[in-house]
């Protein structure tokens, strides 16, 4: 039996994650994302490759969505409503709650602001969500006979999950995006030690090794504290979900400890509403928040107030979380225009900024003059603080996960080409695991475990139940070429338990395979001789 992996998106790139895995005629589509960088046909995966007959319902057993980011869920409404897929879609409860919000938000931006042709309507989003079956963490779902899936906590964003799938004896895990280090509001990825044939993992930071999260937090707090204690204003442009909550928890905690009274504002829009979601989805956050929420819900921000447009020019220090992130337009840019001109103020950019945004320009070396549009130039005098926060695991984390799971094969997706190649080499050389980094629309086929079921004799069962270990002295020859040999001159004491090895597999014509105890075998042979 083989596992066939067709990479429709996020192969040697970041965006439109979509992988179709075929095991023993079962086909699972992991993620159904869109690429934010393209506006033409390239923004969706090439779904035609799934089935030449275009009959998606018979071609796919199910769709699994790992989390609500658009590059993982963006094409779902299109796929179900426009292309007409009617099969089951699995995602976690928080993803089911938040994905329609993201899709709707995106639709609005596309249609209302940019005036593009809409790819799917609000109704279609609602229809699409009706097909979704929500799953819980570590809940095993029997999708079809012989197909089981199970979700594991992945960190990254609220509700993100890694999915385990088992078809027959073949087992695999698709990680989606995950984070191996916890942040202030989400925990670290958690999974059991499984016997996997295949692990498909993201590799956004295939070569980066990040230093301690503490150091980043310290720098952030120091910069913010310094700015507000000098009477300055701090602008933190973020997207509604995730980073805003994380940083706000961090600031709240610090404010609390240091008895600071400077106001923290959330700009109107998604953010306050998002906090309400977080409050409901407390079970998907990190341990500390889960432990203490009955006393104090960490998302009940004491110091946070709503920000009004009129407050932009109000005097006095403050901290403002404003959407959207990366200073890509909207309210955050509006505030930026007002605040950037004073050297007392601080703009803190948490995480990556896409080229073309003001955030990206600020992060580059020359940022004293920024062109908003051909008519507006801003003289940037404020301090810029860049934060290397990221909800993705770094290369060390990927290696650690691969090492922990020790699968037979690894496929890398969701990363940059040359970096993936280097990580692939590393996994192969350091862990000795076969690794692949297919490009989009390529298929990787790997063999999988196939167990033969055999009957067993009673004697063998009995012998298996009773312990039967022996000790052996053997000198380990394989280490003798090392200079550390002197310790190996002494024979090593090893313990062996032979009880399973005492079984003998007997395959007779026309009969099922059977395992008998070695002592029985002689008897059987004698019997046969006798019969003959």
């Amino acid at each position: 039996m083989a596992i066939e992996t067709l990479v429709l998106g996020a192969g040697q790139e970041v965006g439109k994650s979509c992988v179709v895995v075929t095991i023993n005629a079962k086909r699972i589509m992991f993620d159904c994302g869109m690429h934010m960088g393209y506006l033409d046909h390239r923004r969706y995966p090439d779904f035609t490759r799934i089935s030449p007959s275009r009959d998606l319902n018979s071609a796919l057993s199910c769709i699994i969505i790992t989390h609500f980011h658009l590059d993982h869920v963006g094409a779902l409404a299109y796929f179900t409503e426009v292309l007409g897929y009617n099969g089951p879609v699995y995602m976690t409860y928080p993803t089911k709650a938040l994905a329609p919000l993201m899709l709707e938000d995106y639709r609005k931006v596309m249609v209302d602001r940019r005036g593009e042709e809409e790819l799917f309507s609000s109704d279609q989003i609602a229809e699409c969500m009706k097909k979704v079956i929500a799953v819980d963490l570590r809940q095993t779902v029997q999708v079809e006979k012989d197909l089981q899936i199970r979700a594991y906590y992945a960190g990254h964003v609220i509700g993100a999950a890694m999915f385990y799938a088992k078809v027959g004896d073949a087992e695999m895990v698709y990680t989606g995006d995950y984070n191996m280090t916890p942040d202030r509001h989400l925990g670290a990825a958690q999974i059991d030690r499984l016997r996997l044939d295949l692990l498909i993992t993201e590799s956004t930071y295939a070569t980066t090794i990040r230093d301690s999260r503490y150091a980043r937090e310290r720098e952030f707090l120091k910069a913010v504290h310094k700015c507000v204690s000098c009477g300055g204003k701090v602008l933190i442009p973020t997207f509604a979900l995730g980073r805003a909550q994380e940083l706000c928890i961090l600031l709240e905690d610090y404010w609390e400890r240091m008895n600071l009274k400077v106001p923290i504002y959330f700009s109107a829009g998604l953010t306050i509403q998002a906090n309400a979601y977080y409050k409901m989805l407390i079970r998907w956050t990190r341990q500390k928040i889960k432990d203490t929420y009955s006393k104090h819900n960490a998302f009940d921000f004491k110091n946070v107030q709503k920000f009004e447009r009129s407050m932009i020019d109000a005097p006095g220090p403050c901290v403002l979380f404003a959407t959207p992130g990366m200073l890509s337009g909207g309210f955050s840019v509006e505030v930026f225009k007002h605040w950037a001109v004073s050297e007392n103020n601080l703009v803190s950019l948490p995480g990556y900024c896409v080229p073309g945004t003001i955030g990206h320009k600020l992060m580059s070396d020359k940022h004293d003059k920024v062109d908003l549009d051909p008519n507006t130039k801003i003289d940037v005098r404020c301090q810029i603080h860049q934060l290397a926060f990221s909800p993705h695991t770094d290369s060390k984390g990927i290696m650690d996960l691969v090492n922990f799971l020790s699968p037979k094969h690894v496929i890398l997706v969701h990363g940059e080409k040359h970096k993936m190649a280097s990580l692939k080499e590393k996994i192969h050389s350091e862990l000795g695991i076969q690794c692949y980094d297919p490009a989009n629309n390529e298929t990787v086929t790997i063999p999988s475990a196939n167990y033969v079921y055999a009957e067993t004799s009673d004697t063998f069962i009995r012998s298996c139940l009773s312990p039967n270990f022996t000790f052996q002295k053997c000198s380990s020859v394989d280490l003798c070429n090392s200079t550390t040999v002197d310790r190996n001159l002494m024979p090593e004491l090893q313990v062996e338990d032979e009880r399973v090895a005492e079984g003998v597999l007997v395959l007779e014509k026309g009969k099922k395979a059977k395992i008998v105890h070695q002592d029985e075998l002689l008897l059987m042979l004698e019997e046969q001789k006798h019969d003959a």
Binding site: S212, E256, M258, L465, F469, P491, E496
Partner: protein
Amino acid sequence: MAEQNDTSEQPLSLRTLCTMRSLLLHPSTPQHTVSSILETLARSPSHHALKLLSDAAALRPDLALSPPLLPSPQRLAVEALAISLTRLNLDDTRFASLCFGASVPVRAWMLRNAGAEFEVRHGLLLGVLLGFTKDPFPHVRASALEGLVGFCERGGESKDVGLVDACYRRAVRLLRDVDPSVRFSAVRVVASWGLMLAASNSDMKAYWSNDIFAKLCSMARDMNMKVRVEAFSGLRKMEMVSEDLLLQSLSKRVSGHGKQKETLGQRTSEQFVMLATNVAGALVHGLEDEFFEVRKSVCESLRTLTSLSSEFARKALDSLMDVLNDESEVVRLQSLETLHHMAINGRLKLLEKHLHMFLGALVDNNWDVRYTDRKILKVVKLNYLTLFKSSVDSLLGSLDSYPQDEADVFSTFSHLGRNHKKFVSLIIKDMFEEVETALEGNVEFNSARIAALLILSISAALLNADVGRIPPVMFSYAVTFLGRIYNAFSDIMDRDALLACLCEKSRSTEYSATNINPGEGEQQFPLFEGDAPNFASNEVIGSKIDSHITREQKEVANDQVEQQQSVYNEVTNLINYILAKLPDMWPRIQSGHTNEVLRSLRCLKELTTMKFDSLGSGDADALAFTLLYLRIIELLAEVWNNLLPAKGLCYQGIGKLEFKLGKLDRRVKELMSRFIGFSAEEELNVLELMLLTYTLRISKEEISCINHTLKRLSSLYLRVESILKESSALPSNFLVELGKVLSSTSINGASCSPLQFEACLKFFSLKQFVFHGPIKHVKAELSVPNIDFEHPLPFVSGLPVGIQCEITLHNILSESRLWLRMTLDDGFIQYFFLDLDCSEGSEEVRKCTFVAPFYRTAEADCLILKVCIGSECLFENVSPVQRFGGPKRELVLLCNEKQVYLSKVSKA
């Protein structure tokens, strides 16, 4: 019961077991019921039954649990349990048969408890445990591993290195087990057995320690929280780890081979390459773990690890500082505790970049955090002035935010000042100005802040004679805050001593900043009769002193007497200053405030020593004199306490009093004969003390033989009289009264009345010893070369043995009569006269080598002889304590007793 016997093949229901349990534990259950219950249980294979039996055995030791009825393994299991719980030896074969029996729960139970509970032959026990680590059942594997841990924790040791090695390797393999509970136990075995393995071979210890460290670190990314906690707590036991591995555990990036130091040797660096990926960043991962249990465990382990390498401590500090931002209070506190531990070990090297976090904790909302942070500040050594300044500023800031912390903040300032004298002197100017403006101007001032600044300023110089650049007036200011600040110094001196110290310092004129040149000694240190602080009521007098001090300061400043001040003057002034305090204490001694006086005296002694230390030039003779004098007053105070009518002289007290009086007697004699160069006035003072001592002895007639003491007293009195005549000084009341009593008492003592002498005591008052000139300390140094405990001097019993003594004598007058005293354990004393003519050198220092014969070499394998040098008390003209061939007068010892080891020459 019959029913149960019938169904014994089926497991007993929990309900039945409960009933059985109550029956078993009830003391009045008939014996036959108990036996049938036991029988039933014995046939039941469930581990509930085992548990019940073990409970029963523990709670009812009187139960007879051993009738062997059935030979089945279950039967044996029960029996074995019962026996083991009564702490008897478990038969090896029974143990083995239980473990290999068909019941898996029994097996697991046995294995888990085997290591810690049973007295089975180690070889067998470990063999069985090791074997079962290969079991297909995860919980049996885990139990076997736990058994191994239990064995280790009980202090078990295996001599078989091969076996230890095998256990360790097996556990290392099981670190990658599928089952978390097996991994958990495997981590524990790796930590405990690994250390055993490392200890078994000192050559390989470093190698194995590194290996254990790496194996434990490799579990830092395990997905199970308990496994991670256990892995990090395992690190706590590490005794050595190579520095490069330690550093690697703080960095997620694997450092390349090229960076290896040449000196590490090939083996270590090869090992490093092998282990580095396992170790990389393990501690960082641990510190940013999702679970506080893990983070706390890492912080705790860092205590041990930072003590292994200073370079590592330096790097780990960065991480630990970041932990101060942790969301969990427990973790923040633990990291502070670890920092404190590092500070105590001198491993805490704070840098500028740490300050934001470290000092931020001073204004933390949590009291414990603030307190622990200050605890660190009290002991840490700051290396840069900027660090010191920032710390001071932050502490002052925290005082504003948390006025309730004042006491501890003050105490922190006091420690901070004492630990950083140099830095204090660098910022003293600013502090002085601030205090000055605050106290003298009419501006509203923050008194807590001023008090804190004062503490900081004075603390540096308090224990130091050299006040450096600290303006003396600061000490005067501090006096006005005494009530508020004295607690900050409670660890080194009490309120009285602090006041004394402050008063003294405020008179100091070493303040160079105002260009006051020191004047004549007398002017600087007026022998202030009456203004020495009253030790009872500080507050009122404190302010009086204050005004006095400021006035005096101005006078001195006006004087501007330019004169070189010799060290000698300084010493004289110092001694007189100290001795001047004593007469004021006398009324308090008389009124029974002994403890208070003793405390003040102790402080004075400390002060004296410190002052002399700081003077540097080291007039050791004067120091010896002052200390001895203080000691005498101390003894006098103690003796007087016993004489007070209120206390009475209870029967048990006599021995103690006699002892103290004996001590006082010896000390006073020492004062008289071990110092030369007294002026008449000085001698008179000493003689009066001596007379007082004798009078004390006589007044307690039970204590000594009056006649002898009376003779000595009379002869001394004659000497006093002659001095008085020559010096034209007026005799004290005490002397006058004593003279009257003596004249009415016949020398043979027949009509001597102790009561009369006791009456004289009332007239005694302590006069100030006014120290005038240089005095010399008579002392001797004695050494017996080449002989010590390991190289005793050989002797043949019955024959004399010669002990070679090298002697150095200081300030010995030529008329002195010196003796070498040799004392045996049994009290036998032999004297040997030292002829000064044989010695070389001047009066000041003489050197000589004698071979002193010791005659009484007894029949013993070894002897310990105590040898020392004594001088006859020449001032005593009393009929001598005649001993054959020995000194004619009492001896005053000039050096410490020296032990000489003798051992008999063996006949071989």
